[in-house]
């Protein structure tokens, strides 16, 4: 952990989609216990949450969400999107968020990986989006910029987002996992790298961290699939949000890193069942990717809020007529910026 980052600059936001968080919290205890946690209960979850003792935390449930944003708005926080409520009410500089079915892993040397520390390291060292370093993260110990890397690009830019990965159950879509039901990710890739500018990627919400002060409003609940469910195979909300974030970061000259830390993602659900229920999300990406690749923001968009509003506008104009889901997403993005301005804060 960087010595210059204080524990009280960090919030750990957990979206609870399952009621019993006992083993989850206990597995993460040695890593989480020094931080403040925000646990947001999926408003659709009926059972009471079970949370073990010994943590510094705030728990938000449906009545709390209703009180803060109103009952009509609180529906946007259903399912995996409940975590965005945590982002909204947090007042910390850095947020780290993992799904409630993920545990800490051990690295190749058998040492428990402090995912929080790695995310914070990623966020507090520069990103290098303008030129690819073949030895990956040049700021990590034992590495540097290679021969041929322009010196003027070596100070890098601020890193706004850190995308971690998953061992065991990788974040595949339902068709892929259904085709290879036994496949598990056992490859621990010892690297962090900056995703180059103008390169888009699917940003998974399973294991993510960001600088809330810089990019907060761009992580947003907006695209909701018709058949959205309680398994990641039945959602695209994080992928959509991630595309917005990357476009905004590229425009504002901020960096996005990917790679370590890994978390262990437990087996859960049935890919075939999810595929039967919801496959529209997979088809959707055929429209979504070319769309985001073509988005260009104006020079006047100099804040994250402005950027999000502009993206919302382009979504409405170019995608809104193709599917009402996009029109709804565009509206949700505009509403989110208003909500962020009134409830969220930048300090």
């Amino acid at each position: 952990m960087s010595l210059s980052i204080k524990d009280d600059e960090i919030d750990i936001v957990i979206g609870a989609l399952r009621p019993d968080l006992t083993s989850f919290m206990n597995e993460w205890r040695t890593i989480f216990s020094r931080f403040h946690l925000i646990i947001v209960k999926d408003p659709d979850l009926k059972e009471e949450l079970k949370i073990p003792e010994g943590f510094n935390l705030d728990v938000y449930k449906k009545p709390d969400i209703d009180r803060v944003v109103g009952t009509s708005t609180s529906t946007i926080f259903s399912g995996y999107s409940c975590r965005y409520f945590g982002y909204l009410v947090s007042r910390k500089k850095y947020i780290i968020s993992v799904d409630d079915d993920c545990y800490p892993v051990k690295d190749n040397k058998g040492i428990l990986v402090d995912a929080v520390a790695q995310h914070i390291t990623n966020l507090t060292t520069p990103a290098t989006p303008f030129f690819f370093n073949t030895l990956y993260d040049p700021f990590t110990e034992g590495a540097d910029f290679v021969r041929g890397y322009p010196f003027s690009l070596r100070s890098g830019v601020q890193c706004a987002l850190s995308c971690g990965l998953w061992l065991n159950l990788a974040d595949y879509d339902a068709p892929t996992q259904a085709l290879k039901p036994e496949e598990r990710n056992s490859r621990y890739v010892d690297a962090v790298l900056t995703v180059p500018a103008r390169t888009l990627m699917p940003i998974s919400g399973i294991n993510i961290a960001f600088n809330r002060e810089v990019i907060g409003p761009a992580l947003l609940p907006s695209l909701r699939l018709g058949g959205e469910g309680k398994f990641r195979w039945e959602t695209m909300e994080d992928i959509w949000s991630g595309m917005c974030v990357k476009v905004v970061c590229d425009h504002l000259g901020l960096g996005v890193k990917t790679g370590m830390p890994y978390v262990w993602r437990n087996d859960r659900g049935d890919a075939i069942a999810s595929l039967r229920k919801e496959w529209e999300g997979v088809k959707l990406m055929e429209e979504v990717v070319p769309f985001f690749q073509s988005v260009r923001l104006s020079r006047e968009a100099t804040t994250t809020e402005d950027c999000v509003a502009e993206v919302a506008n382009v979504v409405k104009e170019q995608l809104g007529s193709k599917d009402p889901m996009f029109a709804r997403a565009a509206k949700a993005m505009v509403d989110w910026v208003k909500l962020w301005k009134s409830v969220g804060s930048s300090t």
Binding site: D144, A191, M201, M285
Partner: protein, 366 residues
């Protein structure tokens, strides 16, 4: 992992299947004996070598027994190319690109003579050529980044959100490998960190996204000669030139721009080799000095290059690139004028030695 593999460890790791044995040439530039090949024997002996002997042509290069090779020294280069030999560097490993030109094979693997067999974290010797072949024979994915790196690797796949229409990928033109032990740092970094060694084995291959440039190192490199060969010119370096140690860099920027234009892929990552010799940083500094300044202009140039739609072959792209180098970089230093001319000479020489290759299609494998 901190030492190279022994010959016995390599023998244990070698498989009897030597893929592309008759379709791949190994190009090695050298000024000294090739004893290092003993360590590589189990992996490389079945393949044909093209040795480009730099420096004094009267010296005899000793090649270990059992390797099948052709060797070219400066006299041979002058004889074969005549006046066009001016585009081939002298007293610099950039001369290796003569080997690319003279090869008749589809694939090239090039390696430096101070590169040995590395070991993976389990202690197993790494067959670098086998990995390069895997990289070249499987598609690249430059249009959208896969967070689990190479989706065609065993045990991996495309992640959620990756559009199905992009999952076929494109042909891979270049496979860029890495190095354990002595990292490929520039002179200033070497001077500041003389003891730094790369001990981090990153178990990944990834496609460098379209529109992104990278520093291509020629120490451990493989490519599809039919897809991108004419663009692999390593520039004017060494004797009589104001710059050195930018040969592979220059080629890397050229090939990347052309690959992006033609829809071809470039991969980086595995395989690792063990780089044993650190070159003298003071000598390096003198060679690189101008490059360190010039690259500040060269990089924006390559980042902004637009190749016209009618450049549908590698040669056409390269000639157009040479034209733009002359127009836009010529004002930085007369060296770039010379380099632009040499780029054209190179293409003429390439086409002269490879007459049927003048009508390459734009990037689809045949």
């Amino acid at each position: 992992m901190n030492e190279p593999a022994t010959a016995i460890e390599a023998a244990v790791a070698a498989s009897p299947l030597h893929q592309l044995k008759d379709e791949l040439d190994i190009v090695i530039p050298t000024i000294r004996n090739l004893d290092f090949l003993e360590m590589w024997r189990p992996f490389l002996q079945p393949y044909h070598l093209i040795i480009v002997q730099d420096g004094d042509p009267s010296k005899t290069i000793k090649v270990p027994n059992g390797f099948d090779y052709e060797l070219y020294n400066r006299n041979d280069i002058n004889r074969i190319l005549g006046p066009k030999a001016s585009c081939i560097s002298f007293k610099d490993s950039a001369c290796r690109c003569f080997g690319y030109m003279v090869s008749k094979k589809k694939y090239i693997f090039t390696i430096d003579d101070d590169c040995f067999v590395a070991k993976d974290p389990s202690g197993k010797a790494i067959n670098a050529l086998e990995q390069h072949i895997k990289n070249l024979l499987s598609p690249s994915t430059p249009f959208f980044f896969n967070t689990l790196y190479d989706p065609f690797a065993e045990g991996a796949d495309f992640v959620r959100g990756y559009p199905f229409s992009l999952r076929e990928g494109v042909s891979t033109a270049v496979s860029h490998g890495l190095w354990l032990n002595i990292p490929d740092y520039d002179a200033p970094t070497q001077l500041v960190k003389p003891l730094e060694r790369n001990t981090r084995f990153v178990d990944a291959v990834l496609t460098i996204p379209k529109g992104t440039l990278f520093p291509m190192c020629g120490m451990n490199l493989a490519f599809d000669r039919q897809l991108i060969g004419p663009a692999m010119y390593f520039g004017l370096m060494g004797e009589g030139q104001p710059i050195g140690r930018y040969d592979d860099m220059w080629a890397g920027w050229c090939i990347k721009v052309i690959c992006d234009h033609l829809g071809l892929g470039v991969k980086t990552g595995l395989p690792y080799i063990y780089h044993s010799k650190a070159s003298n940083p003071f000598v390096n500094l003198r060679k690189e000095y101008k490059g360190i300044y010039w690259q500040e202009d060269i990089i924006p140039f390559f980042q902004q290059v637009v190749l016209p739609k009618d450049c549908t072959t590698v040669q056409k792209c390269y000639i157009e690139l040479a034209k733009q180098v002359k127009e836009k970089l010529g004002k930085i230093d007369p060296y770039f004028d010379k380099l632009a001319d040499a780029m054209v000479t190179w293409i003429q020489a390439w086409d002269g030695l490879n007459p049927t290759s003048a009508s390459f299609s734009n990037g689809k494998t045949g």
